[in-house]
């Protein structure tokens, strides 16, 4: 294997090759841009698999590190520092998998300014990869903020009616958090002599400062996740974004927040994490119930899925702040699960919308008879999202709940007990949705002649559902991949617990 080419560089920046090609050849036709984008993202996916092959899952810590000095600024070096570990590799794989699927899903849905759409999408992929792989705080911030630009245009240009409102709200909410994070980054960098994340984990930041910094970083991540009560941008952004945008937004962009907690808040501010963990878990539990209850009240399928995201991401945060091996591993796995099942749900909503140009549940009904294939695949997706044993959602949520139940840091089983209600509620609102759309008699004559899934649409859903079964039946390889990194992270927290006693 040629060690001169770092796979991380390729995975991160290969999408830009596609952007360049689209800019050069994009004017020749819509299909050219589509194919270039699809092939680029498929190659990126292949590269991410190659990355996985080179990744040594028995080792904790950072691998395939690349660290180049970028610039020096008033005595502080900003490094171009990339690296991958057991936590980020799953996020990279998820990103690389969902991007080609999202691009393929727009084949018929996006007809205007196709080359622009595809360029923004590939730019977004580079941004997301950068977020997951950066090990320098400034570099991380640059990628983090940069993802706003393409997403803003994706929502604003190709979204539905209230897209401008949603796009601006999305940017303002995210910036509100991230600007304070920038202040935090600068403060840490100046006080502890550098922005390099790997060197900062040893610095003992005083407790009060940790609390402030936990707040500055945590706000940015909590908005992105989003945690209740900072979630109000999400239903709008999801509902107005084009299908592919929603898939990526739910599948990857929200995970940037959850990932941020794991990458920054836990290792850098362990004492603050310990102190605030019950509060964060409490907010997470509120989010789980709130998202579920509000989802039940929705008439629009897409809004329902959006609120279900708030509920599901609540589990991720709960698992993270349970601070047990099970909790954190479950959280990471649930991040992947949510990407798969909610991604699939958004694809299905998009397919329904393309057929009927409405997303109101009242306009559907009885589709099972008309489109049996769509119906059955939707049922599998819904069950995976609900957390039926044998499918991926169950593994993630069960592990999280176990972790939270036994957590000595949360010190109360009630977090897990109340959160379990969320699992039940998820079954209620998702099956209710399924029943409204697919079961019963066909209520509207327009629905009699709907086409069933095309081969392209089956290809879109197939990989997601196959993975859902795989994780549901045999999750061990996924846990194996992340467990050294998680153990390392928790060992760090554990030392703080011991010194505190």
């Amino acid at each position: 294997m040629n060690s001169a080419i770092n796979p991380l560089l390729l995975v991160t920046f290969f999408p830009l090759v596609g952007v360049l090609l689209i800019l050069l050849l994009g004017s020749t036709g819509k299909n050219t841009a589509r194919w270039i984008a699809l092939l680029t993202s498929l190659v990126t996916f292949a590269l991410s698999l190659w990355l996985l092959m080179q990744f040594d899952s028995t080792k904790g810590g950072i691998q395939m590190e690349i660290n180049l000095p970028w610039l020096t600024l008033g005595g502080n070096t900003v490094g171009f520092h990339l690296g991958v570990d057991g936590i980020s590799i799953l996020m990279v794989l998820l990103t690389a998998l969902l991007t080609p699927i999202a691009i393929l899903s727009t084949w018929k849905a996006v007809e205007e300014r196709v080359s622009g759409f595809m360029s923004f999408f590939l730019l977004l992929e580079t941004g997301m990869m950068g977020v997951f792989l950066s090990l320098d705080m400034v570099l991380f911030y640059i990628f983090w903020e940069f993802t706003l630009v393409p997403m803003y245009f994706l929502i604003g240009l190709w979204g539905s009616q209230r897209r401008v409102y949603a796009a601006v709200k999305f940017v303002l909410y995210t910036m509100a958090g991230s600007l304070l994070m920038l202040a935090g980054i600068l403060w840490v960098g100046l006080t502890y002599g550098g922005f390099d994340l790997t060197k900062l984990t040893d610095s003992a930041i005083p407790f009060t400062a940790q609390l402030w910094l936990f707040g500055a970083f945590g706000l940015a991540f909590a908005i992105k996740v989003p945690m209740w009560p900072l979630h109000s941008w999400l239903p709008d952004a999801h509902t107005e974004a084009p299908t592919a945008g929603s898939v990526i937004l739910a599948g990857v962009l929200l995970k940037m927040g959850a990932y941020g907690f794991l990458r920054f808040n836990l290792p850098l501010f362990p004492q603050a994490t310990l102190t605030l963990a019950p509060w964060m878990a409490g907010l997470a539990v509120i989010g789980i119930l709130y998202g579920a209850i509000v989802a039940f009240r929705q008439k629009d399928v897409k809004r329902l899925v959006a609120y279900s995201s708030i509920s599901h991401l609540g589990f991720v945060v709960l698992g993270t702040f349970a601070l047990t091996a099970q909790g954190v591993q479950g959280a990471i796995l649930q991040m992947v699960n949510h990407g798969l099942s909610t991604g699939a749900l958004f694809l299905i909503v998009g397919m329904l919308y393309e057929r009927r140009h409405t997303r109101l549940m009242a306009d559907f009904g009885g589709l099972w008879r008309v489109t049996p294939l769509l119906g059955s695949l939707t049922l599998v997706t819904v069950l995976s999202s609900v957390g039926l044993p044998g499918l991926n959602g169950f593994v993630g949520e069960f592990t999280i709940l176990m972790g939270a139940f036994h957590s000595t840091i949360l010190a109360s089983p009630w977090f897990a007990v109340v959160a379990t209600l969320g699992v039940i509620l998820a079954a209620v609102y998702l099956l209710h949705m399924f029943q409204q759309v697919f079961l019963g008699p066909v209520r509207h004559p327009e629905n009699e002649k709907l086409a069933d899934l095309s081969p392209r649409e089956v290809i879109l859903l197939a990989p997601l559902l196959l993975l859902a079964f795989w994780i549901g039946l045999y999750p061990a390889p996924f846990f194996r991949l992340m467990s050294p990194a998680v153990e390392q992270l928790l060992a760090l927290i554990q030392t703080v617990v011991q010194t505190a006693h």
């Binding site: 970028w70 610039l71 020096t72 600024l73 008033g74 502080n76 400034v138 911030y141 640059i142 990628f143 903020e145 940069f146 706003l148 630009v149 803003y152 245009f153 604003g156 240009l157 897209r163 401008v164 796009a167 601006v168 940017v171 303002l172 910036m175 509100a176 600007l179 304070l180 920038l182 202040a183 600068l186 403060w187 960098g189 100046l190």
Partner: protein, 481 residues
Amino acid sequence: MTLIDFNSILPVILLVVWALVMLLLDVWFGKRVPLLTPVMAVAGLVLSLAASLYQIGQQASAFNGMIRVDGFSIFLNNLFALSGIVAIGLGYDYLKRVGISEGEYYVLLLFSISGMMLMGSAGDLIIVFLSLELLSIPLYVLAGIDHKRDASREASLKYFLLGTMASAFVLFGIAFVYGAAGTTSLYGITEAVSQGKVQQFLLICGSALLLAGFGFKVAAVPFHSWTPDVYHGSPSSVTAFMSVGAKAAGFAALIRVFSLNFTAIAIELTPLFWVLSALTMIVGNVVAVAQTNLKRMLAYSSIAHAGYILMAFVGFGDAAVRQNSIASALFYLAAYALTSLGAWSVLVAVEQQDGSGNEISDLAGLGKTAPSLAAAMVVFMLSFTGIPLTLGFWGKFYLFRTAIEGGFTYLAVAGLLTSLVSVFYYLRVVVKMYFQPGEALAHKGRLTSLIATILAILVVGLAFVPGYLFNLAAAGLIAGA
């Protein structure tokens, strides 16, 4: 005059002599060869730029300490010359289109730039005052050069009246400082202060008056009230230059005088700067939200950016952060110059003959009618906001970093929160251009589009390799500070 003297003001002398020659040539040939004056003006600026590039690395004191050549003056000279070249390019298209065929435009521009350059290298308060007048008076005239329009005349008069008052403040301040230290030489004052031979009270009064005068030039709140009207009324190509040149010159004076002379009373001045900076950021950004006219919005945004630069300068009394504080101000000025000139060049392209077309709503649909111009405008708006991968991000990054280094974390947080406010109005421009249907008219003036494109490429391109500009700014030292 010795050779060192001559060398030290070579960029300025070149410009002044060149401008005088141009004045004559314009009278003789201007009507027959309309291209002559603008081309000569660019040539003059290029010569002056070459002279100032030649000075890189030099340090000199000339005319008995009246003139200082150091990294600071050289950095600013380059900035002034380059923005002058851009302003001439913008003016050439614009003046023809709106029917102002005055050769004086270019000559006055050159005179004003020579004043700015002199300001950058001032070593004496008298030079500070002289260059303040030299740069301001041509600008008063330029603001009113479109004398057929009421707005332009009004802008000129307003700028003149308030500008003179600011000059009076500066002069009064100089008198106080002279009374306190017995000399007008910046280095002489420093020496007197270090020997404890000054009257503290007079020095504080003088510094406050100087601050008010310079605050007017940089458009800091509460000395900003002229800005929106003047920016709005003046011809756009003039405003483009004013928003960069006059502001940079104001900061040049402020930074040089304060970091040399008033560090001893920094404890008294820091709270003043703190409040001034916070007020400027808040008022500039919040009022900009309410603007519907693009020119006025950019005017308030330029006020807000003055607030950010002031933020870096709050900690000037702390010797440990002073270098960073000066360097970050210079870097931000450069980033701001590229962005602001770019945004105004887009405005020049969309403004109509009758002076209309500069409402934000007039931009609707520009993304379709003039894709490259609109894309450039997006870059400028993102850079103003401080989104990564634009030069504006590094500018803000460095400023906030310096503020936090100086211990002004709350001020930095205030700055960050006000830039959140700014997201709203900068994005509104993007929303108009791309998300709303319309038939925005853009002139096909090749030169203007070319300038906008080049500036956009620079704003993005330099963001990948900001190290070079950082080093230049870090070399922008003030000798003795």
